[in-house]
């Protein structure tokens, strides 16, 4: 099975609402990744602000950052090879990589189990 890793720039929030303008691209991506995860596909996302270790451990990612600086992000790796620099994959690409239809990416994920407490 294909494996996707997405290396995000340091972001306030992956939903993109904290930026100077709403970036529908980020919300689209967040939903697609979420839905792929729920389907059990091997997809991981790393935010530089929270998980810098990943950006050091992966030699290819690290080298790209040394060469191009933070502008290289976001970066996408397919089975360990860099397939995209400075942009995110489209839903079509996701679908192709995982052998599903783009429509399947838009299915609403079920509400997750969560711990609730109230005050």
């Amino acid at each position: 099975m294909n494996k996707i890793e997405i290396y995000d720039p340091a972001m306030c929030c992956s939903t993109g609402v904290c930026g100077p303008s709403v970036d529908p691209e980020l919300t689209r991506l967040a939903s697609a990744v979420y839905s792929l995860e729920k389907k059990g596909f091997d997809i991981k996302r790393f935010n530089l602000a929270n998980e810098p270790a990943a950006f050091v451990e992966n030699a290819l990612v690290n080298q790209a950052l040394v060469d191009k600086g933070p502008e290289a992000l976001p970066m996408v790796l397919l089975n360990g090879e860099i397939v995209r620099v400075a942009s995110y994959p489209t839903n079509d690409e996701f679908a192709q990589w995982f052998g599903i239809t783009p429509e399947q990416l838009q299915e609403k994920p079920k509400v997750k189990q969560s711990i609730k407490f109230s005050i």
């Binding site: 993109g16 930026g19 709403v22 942009s87 609403k108 109230s118």
Partner: protein, 589 residues
């Protein structure tokens, strides 16, 4: 009038949180309360977040994050938490290990994302939680007194189940506001306990501290409502600094007194349901155990304070500021400062002054009270001066609608709730406002634009990095508007833009203003002027209580002049509220 606050006569819970905007005196009141309780034989822990570390001087002990006993005051222990430092140490913990492993430019983007107000807020909550959830603390102390309280935004975020579910684990939807919590899943139970203790009527009292002025009382009403809604229902209001007597012959004293009484009479109805106490306006500074004890004895004045009558010195006024901007042909002028320092009045006076000198001026305000309408009194102005208003509430609402329209599709209810709460963060308002006044500046090519607010350095740096980021990101649809792109370089150009920091000659306002300046400098913007507003030191009054306070202003004016300001001006406390164009004209001359 309200009864005077005295911890002796009020039933107090184990946890006491004092809250209020900077400069209302919550650290002093918290400290005086802690001393009063300790004097009565209660074991008290005082937890301060005062970055001024005033407390260290008061108690003559070097304080740390861990409670230590105060030798001079029996039964009292104290700890000082610096949320800025806590946030910084969190930042360093996150970024530090990667120095040398990732390029500096990459590290810089990480640091900026971890430099927001939210990070500081959560870092502070993390520190509170340790004390609130630790049962040993209540075995050891009868009262734990905090000189600040978490905001409604923080509590609501923590209340959302999504804060704890997979969002943080998978970090597909991790939000900035919970930055310091990410990866700290192990603390879930501690936070839950802390939140529960906060809303327990028998455990926690929220003491809202306000000044007897309209903006401070409105702010207290807002905080009271917000925290009540989230379950912190045991609330008291303390109106701090109520002038007890006036000198009928002294113009300043009478006006000061009348204005306070009027503000109290017109206090928001929401506050009428909260048990309210008053504390007197005092001539002495609330440092040193003796002065703290005097506060609840309701001494307005001490012998030492009475002796310390300051001479009035000649200081540069607002006219210098206006002349300087004129001479330098400054096109965009921002006045910035925390709430209640009078930045709208200062902005109006600068605008009027420039218009009077023959320039075309556009003045825009974000004052939610529409202070400008009030300031100009609806009277006739000057044809060279135009005025507009940016309503933060409207801008934020528009922004939220836009976000939900663009981003809300396909999200689960849980994700949507998260998205909505994320937008309650202070950053959202700042960004929405920045966009709005970028539009104003963009439209005004042949006018001088005066704006009564300014973006923080954090917002500017975020916008800046986003701009660079968007340049590279060919596919991005969410673009930075042109007006914003054009404004950024203009802001950095000192030939074109002047930033004026407005503050009061008191400890907290000066320190907060210093922090604003630091933050702007990070974004390569150097504030040009500091204006010390509403100075009693510069006013002419014979009222001994007000004179005493005037004397204590001296050291803060000195600090601004010597350490902080490139150029400074002082505006005296004015007996009249500046209403109308003609009055403002006088004001600016």
């Amino acid at each position: 009038m309200y009864p005077l606050f005295n911890p002796k006569h009020v039933e107090l819970t184990p946890f006491l949180f004092f809250t209020g905007k900077g400069g209302v005196g919550k650290t002093s009141v918290a400290c005086a309360t802690a001393v009063a309780l300790a004097d009565r034989g209660k074991k008290v822990l005082l937890v301060s977040t005062d970055p001024a570390s005033n407390l260290q001087d008061v108690l003559s002990v070097e304080l740390t994050g861990e409670p230590i006993e105060i030798p001079a005051i029996a039964n009292l222990s104290a700890a000082n938490i610096d949320p800025e430092a806590a946030a910084k140490s969190y930042r360093e913990k996150t970024v530090g290990p990667y120095r040398g492993k990732l390029p500096d430019a990459v590290l810089a983007t990480m640091e900026e994302q971890l430099s927001g107000a939210c990070t500081v807020e959560i870092a502070a909550f993390d520190e509170f939680s340790r004390l609130l959830s630790d049962e040993a603390v209540l075995e050891q102390y009868d009262h734990v007194v905090f000189d600040t309280a978490p905001t409604g935004h923080t509590l609501r975020l923590l209340q959302l189940p999504s804060a704890w579910s997979g969002f943080l684990d998978t970090s597909t939807h991790g939000a900035s506001c919970l930055g310091p919590l990410a990866g700290l899943e192990g603390k879930k139970e501690m936070y839950a306990k802390a939140v529960a203790a906060l809303s327990d009527f028998n455990k926690t009292t929220l003491l809202l501290v306000a000044r007897p002025d309209t903006s401070s009382l409105n702010e207290a009403a807002r905080a009271a409502h917000e925290l009540k809604e989230i379950g912190v229902e045991n609330q008291l209001l303390i109106v701090n600094g109520v002038l007890q007597t006036r000198h009928p012959e002294d113009v300043v004293s009478s006006a000061f007194y009348d204005r306070q009484r009027r503000a109290l009479k017109d206090a928001p109805t929401a506050l009428k349901q909260v048990m309210t106490y008053a504390l007197p306006f005092v001539a002495y500074s609330l440092t040193g155990a003796d002065n703290l004890r005097h506060l609840f004895s309701f001494y307005s004045i001490t012998t030492a304070a009475a002796a310390n009558t300051a001479e009035t010195a000649e200081m540069p006024g607002l006219d210098r500021v206006i002349a300087d901007f004129e001479a330098n042909n400054t096109r965009v002028i921002f006045t910035m400062g925390k709430g209640g320092v009078g930045k709208t009045t200062v902005a109006s006076a600068i605008a009027v002054g420039l218009a009077e000198r023959g320039h075309r001026v556009h003045l825009t305000t974000t004052d939610p009270a529409d202070h400008l309408g009030y300031t100009f009194g609806g009277g006739k102005g000057n044809e060279r001066l135009s005025i507009s208003r940016i309503d933060p509430a409207v801008e934020v609402a528009n922004y939220k609608t836009e976000v939900l329209k663009d981003a809300g599709d396909g999200l689960t209810e849980e994700e949507l709730a998260y998205l909505k709460e994320d937008m309650e963060s202070p950053c959202t308002e700042e960004i929405a406002l920045f966009k709005a006044f970028a539009t104003v500046v963009d439209k005004a090519d042949d006018e001088i634009v005066v704006i009564d607010t300014a973006p923080t350095g954090h917002t500017l740096l975020l916008l800046d990095s986003t701009e660079a980021y968007h340049k590279e990101m060919s596919r991005s649809a969410g673009d930075v508007p042109d007006s914003v792109k054009k404004l950024l370089p203009r802001l950095r150009n000192p030939k074109e833009t002047g930033v004026v920091i407005v503050t009061l000659a008191e400890a907290t306002p000066v320190l907060e203003a210093a922090r604003l300046q630091e933050d702007l400098k990070r974004a390569q913007i150097d504030p040009k002027w500091w204006i010390i507003n509403q100075s009693l030191y510069a006013a002419k009054t014979e009222d001994p209580v007000l004179r005493g306070r005037a004397a204590s202003e001296k050291q803060w004016i000195q600090k601004v002049v010597d350490e902080l300001a490139a150029k400074y001006a002082v505006i005296p406390w004015l007996a009249e509220e500046k209403i109308g164009y003609d009055k403002l004209k006088e004001f600016s001359n």
